[in-house]
Symmetry: C2
Subunit: 389 residues, 2 copies
């Protein structure tokens, strides 16, 4: 058939949903998973169990692939460089990926590019942090330079004593101003090696305890000029950093002068991203198909929305480690025959992302309520208390 | 997690696309395939290679599944009954499936139910056929009672001599009037064990040499009353025959009295069907997800269309056995970033269904042209000659 072999390092839900998209393109995703019960390993046939921090495992995996891509940022940069030097095609490559792996590298590069970011500085000691606090005040934010996700590796500290506890953990840190944000947005784009770029509508993301719980597309009441600015910024960053594949730019919307709003870049992710799961049903081309098109250097697909409003809500694990998901699915489907459910096949732990639901329609309040009810019911097996239908 | 295990007998593209839908529901489809290179076997991890005419193979496969369903009608009825007697849950079961396996059984049952079918009779000899021809005239249609598909097992014969050749082949035959049809339609529905039914919009299907090449949803210019009649008929048949899963009712639209049109049932299929591939992007619930919901006795999903017009065109194998599909995909995506491509991973043989494309939009002529151009280009690597863009 002559179709290329794409391998993805990491067996999580991003790999799982990328495999789903690969099937339509006539492909079968190869997956390097940590274990046979990984989310993607349960549904793909080309699964290798191996260690993404082992050069031998990575080399063996890459040898069977024409393109290697990633469902996380945890492969050490040195190994990525060794793979690339060994002839593997990595998309994104290490030169781009380091900006998603290391917050100090990212912040410094963005600042150098003139991209607005929160005031920040790398810090090693409590004294460094106290010095920074003189400029931005307490409380401020400390972030692990590497490895954080879903609120892990982020601390809001109100004093030198609290900062000392974080410093004592020994992780490399960056300090940031606690920005008085109005809300969080995400601009998600894709870029191909040829240099083609495509942007989805800018979304609002809602976090709870540092974990994304809801994404609304398009971001309600976002001025057109600000939406265009966010998309342009993301496309420009993809280009400047040489990203290939999906790039998610997490943004803070903050109050600007004269009652207007302005944007600051919070984080970058160079892979399919939670803030674009809504694209599976909500855009003509999903982020998973688009990521594959990009890493294969195919022309990118149309990013037009398929409905006026699309809301995705994450299904988090509840307190019950062995919930009867089959029964919950049954009752939820009976209640909302139009809701789209995505379950990841993962063991349930409190707060863990085990799936998501997507609602689409022309009435934002209704669409949002449906997504929230669906996610809450799959989590706890209870309809929300405010419920009066 | 408590989610059920669904097994599908047959490793073709219907299984492949059902697996894609299963992933979202938190499942991983188990597949009984003929060979490791079967379309579904290339993308699913729970694949057993075995013989669907061997009771031992079927029993071993069914033992690992809570529900067994089918991507074809080729499992002999006696084996289905033995499996069911052994405790396996088959959806659809043999009592329903025989109406999709044997055209004589189907025609006689439908006639008994008062459902309009073309005039027909089982025939064994040329004399039988000549007798039938006295009522319906020549040419008439001979069909193999079992095993036909995609125009195979169907002969239009204009004389006793031509009929004799078919009789000599030794297959069990049914003779039918050659109906002066206006066009072909399909009414596709799903039914759950509980008895819930759901119907998609009625579509027009276009055949070439007995093979479906194009499906238009909804069927253009179909009077509302006729569309409702077709949907009601399909839902009623699903109920009367005890179908569980998707039921496709292939219909002839023929001239009725007073310039009106009327419907005749041509064929039944009790599985996801080519005439509903458009539902993957074109309906809120795809036929593959719906088939899974039905066989699991989950509530059925909404069948509402996601666009005013949806056209699916099959990609058939062209003359080149080793086409550069990667390049064709590249150029087609460049030309039409909104077209949805589905490739099945099958070896290319002339006329074989190797994939399909789907276009969606509000202008029927444009949507139809896009689907036709896409399918033709993937087949032959040439843009249609009428092309003037």
């Amino acid at each position: 058939m002559g179709l290329p072999v794409v391998g993805m390092v990491g067996g999580g839900q991003l790999s799982r949903m990328t495999h789903q998209a690969a099937i339509a393109l006539g492909l079968s995703l190869k997956v390097l998973a940590d274990a046979t019960h990984d989310s993607a390993a349960l549904v793909a046939c080309g699964v290798t169990v191996g260690d993404h921090t082992s050069l031998d495992d990575l080399r063996a995996f890459a040898a069977g692939c024409e393109v290697v891509t990633f469902d996380h940022e945890h492969v050490p940069e040195g190994l990525l460089e060794a793979l690339e030097q060994g002839g593997a095609t990595l998309h994104p490559g290490p030169a781009a990926l380091r900006h998603a792996q290391d917050k100090v590298v990212m912040r410094e590069r963005l600042a150098a590019l003139g991209v607005p970011v929160p005031p920040f500085t790398p810090v090693a000691t409590v004294r460094d942090i106290e010095g920074f606090a003189k400029h931005v005040g307490w409380p401020l934010v400390l972030k692990s330079a590497t490895g954080g996700y879903d609120g892990k590796g982020v601390w809001v500290v109100a004093s030198a004593d609290e900062a000392a506890e974080v410093v004592a953990s020994g992780v490399r840190l960056v300090a940031e101003q606690l920005v008085p944000l109005q809300r969080e947005l995400a601009a998600v784009v894709a870029r191909s090696p040829y240099g083609q770029g495509a942007a989805w509508p800018v979304v609002e993301t809602v976090q709870s305890d540092g974990v994304c719980v809801e994404v609304v597309s398009p971001a309600p009441d976002l001025p057109e000029a600000l939406a265009l600015e966010a998309q342009s910024l993301a496309l420009r960053l993809a280009d400047e950093l040489g990203v290939v594949g999906v790039l998610a730019v997490e943004l803070f919307q903050v109050a600007g002068p004269d009652g207007t709003s302005t944007l600051l870049v919070n984080e970058l992710a160079m892979r399919p991203h939670n803030s674009a799961h809504w694209t599976i049903e909500g855009a003509r081309t999903s982020q998973f198909e688009q990521h594959l098109r990009a890493v294969l250097d195919y022309p990118l697909g149309a990013t037009t929305a398929t409905a006026p409003w699309v809301v995705m809500a994450n299904v988090l694990g509840g307190q019950d480690a062995e919930p009867d998901l089959d029964k919950r699915l049954h009752l939820l489907m009976a209640r909302d025959p139009s809701l789209k459910v995505h379950l990841y096949g993962k063991a349930v732990r409190p707060g863990r992302k085990i799936g998501h639901v997507t609602a689409l329609g022309s009435d934002l309040a209704d669409v949002r309520a449906r997504a929230q009810v669906g996610a809450a019911y799959l989590k706890d097996g209870r309809w929300p208390e405010t419920e009066s239908r």
